[in-house]
Amino acid sequence: VTQYMLLIYEDERIYGPDKNGPGLEEIVAKHMVFNKELGSARIGGAGLKATSSATTIRKNKRAQTVHDGPFAETREQLGGYYLIDAPDLDAAIAIAKKVPMLRDGSVEIRPLLGGL
């Protein structure tokens, strides 16, 4: 069994400013259902506040600087994650396909280092 991280990318604007809009309630309800379905395959997971709340530390050479904003400006932003147990990639894909999303978006599947 491998542990996989499912990284959920959506256009966060659909959840309103600061993720306070009506869309959030809707998606949270869906995630509750999905969590139940996952059962023991779920190791962890959470939704993230909007990228406006993000702070990024950048390190180059020896200097560490602190910046306002996410690591990268993109059309879809990391909005939440799941950490799951799955026997193989096909099983992880099957689970990732069921991750609820309000509209268009992506789920990136990444095995954990040393998860084997």
Binding site: Y4, P87, D88, L89, D90, I93, A94, P111, L116
Partner: protein
């Protein structure tokens, strides 16, 4: 003598052996290396003791032991020796002489699983066909690189990356689950189509890698054997056989392409056509028609022709395209349909159809210019045809097609001179 047998056996049974090793150890690299090591060992051992009774079985057993040894060394390096796989008695067996490990028919056929792994959607599209040809067909990286017009280094890197992705991401060493089966099977078939297209394309040219069309025939045969209930699998097996049956007629004495309607059926290969007919019959029995069955039907219509004196089957071809169009209205299908349309309905109808398609193709789409040039030539517009031939030739066609296009262009230029 022995070396000749070895290279033949290695070529013919490499897919089966590598597949069996890969499934046993769940490691593609280990399987490949172990098989290569066994072949190396066979060079001296077979010379010394003679060719074993069951050469593939010998290679499999030796490779299996090499893989176990490699795993043990790896484990020792990692200082964990608790793996039950490694505590079996085989590890401590002395090097058996070839006669002892001769046992026929012991290699399980795991090629289908291996094909599904190589064509997994998590593997980059560009790498799938190459990986399948390498692992399942045992083609050398240099041959694959040539067929894909890539440098050997680039191709090798691509294969390494693909194998690492399979290992790291945890691609299962299993056939897909039933719910994933249709999509995954389609990925496999598309991969084989890409691989065959390369072999087919090249056959019209120098023919240096035409050899691996044989591997595609074999792969489609294996796939049809393992998935006999899949219409599209059987259709692909039929399709490549119809196409291969016509290979001897595809080039003229000068190496120029011969269009289908001018190919002499007398030099086609009847055994391949009858094999194809039988696959086609089975594929059509399921009642649903997929895109590959349509393609096979087009080839089949041509292969029914017995003699150049017989009129070409344009009506049948047009009818099949009409059916295909009703299922998938796609500009490439429309372009191909324009050819029989010109024969059955008329050249102006076909030209009109082409005009309506012009904006749907990128300006460097060679088949569009080639079809248009031919229609303009026959419509009695040699000057326009000449321009269209120039446009097609500028797009760097394969040598055989280039020769044919140039010849046609020459003939319209002399028509222009007469006007």
């Amino acid at each position: 003598m022995t070396d000749g047998i070895l290279s033949r056996v290695a070529r013919e049974s490499s897919g089966r052996i590598v597949a069996a090793l890969a499934m046993r150890f769940r490691d593609l690299d280990l399987a490949e290396d172990a098989f290569a090591g066994a072949c190396e060992k066979a060079v001296t051992a077979w010379r010394l003791h003679g060719t074993p009774y069951d050469p593939p079985g010998w290679l499999y057993r030796v490779a299996e032991r090499r893989a176990l040894d490699a795993l043990r060394r790896r484990k020792v390096r990692e200082r964990s020796v608790s793996d039950p796989l490694l505590s079996g008695p085989q590890l401590f067996e002395p090097e058996a002489s070839p006669t002892i490990i001769d046992e026929a028919g012991l290699i399980p056929d795991e090629r289908l699983r291996l094909i599904f792994i190589c064509c997994h959607p998590a593997v980059s599209v560009e790498a799938r066909a190459a990986l399948t040809l390498r692992l399942v067909c045992g083609l050398s990286t240099s041959d694959i690189a040539k067929a894909f017009l890539l440098g050997e280094v680039t191709l090798t890197q691509r294969l390494v990356r693909a194998k690492r992705k399979i290992a790291d991401a945890g691609v299962p060493f299993e056939v897909p689950r039933p719910e994933d089966w249709p999509q995954r099977l389609d990925a496999v078939l598309s991969t084989l189509e890409v691989a065959y297209a390369k072999a087919h394309e090249d056959a019209a040219g120098a023919g240096a890698y035409a050899g691996y069309a044989i591997e595609i025939l074999e792969l489609t045969r294996v796939l049809a054997e393992l998935a006999p209930q899949e219409s599209e699998v059987l259709a692909l097996a039929a399709l490549v056989r119809y196409a291969e049956a016509r290979r001897p007629a595809r080039l003229d004495d000068y190496g120029a392409m011969v269009p289908l309607s001018e190919q002499d059926p007398a030099v086609w290969r009847p055994p391949l056509i009858s094999e194809a007919d039988s696959y086609f019959g089975r594929a059509s029995a399921f009642g649903k028609i997929g895109p590959r069955l349509f393609q096979a039907a087009l080839h089949r219509a041509w292969c029914k022709r017995k003699d150049l004196a017989e009129p070409p089957p344009w009506r049948d071809i047009l009818q099949i395209y009409d059916l295909l169009l009703s299922q998938r209205d796609d500009p490439v299908v429309r372009l191909n349909r324009a050819v029989p349309l010109a024969e059955v309905v008329g050249i102006s109808a076909a030209l009109e159809e082409l005009e309506s398609l012009e904006e749907q193709f990128p300006s460097n789409f060679l088949p569009y210019h080639a079809v248009r040039a031919d229609l303009l030539r026959r419509a009695g517009r040699p000057a326009d045809a000449g321009d269209a031939y120039d446009a097609a030739i500028a797009l760097d066609p394969a040598p055989a097609e280039r020769m044919w296009l140039k010849r046609r262009r020459q003939s319209v230029l002399s028509d222009v001179a007469k006007q």
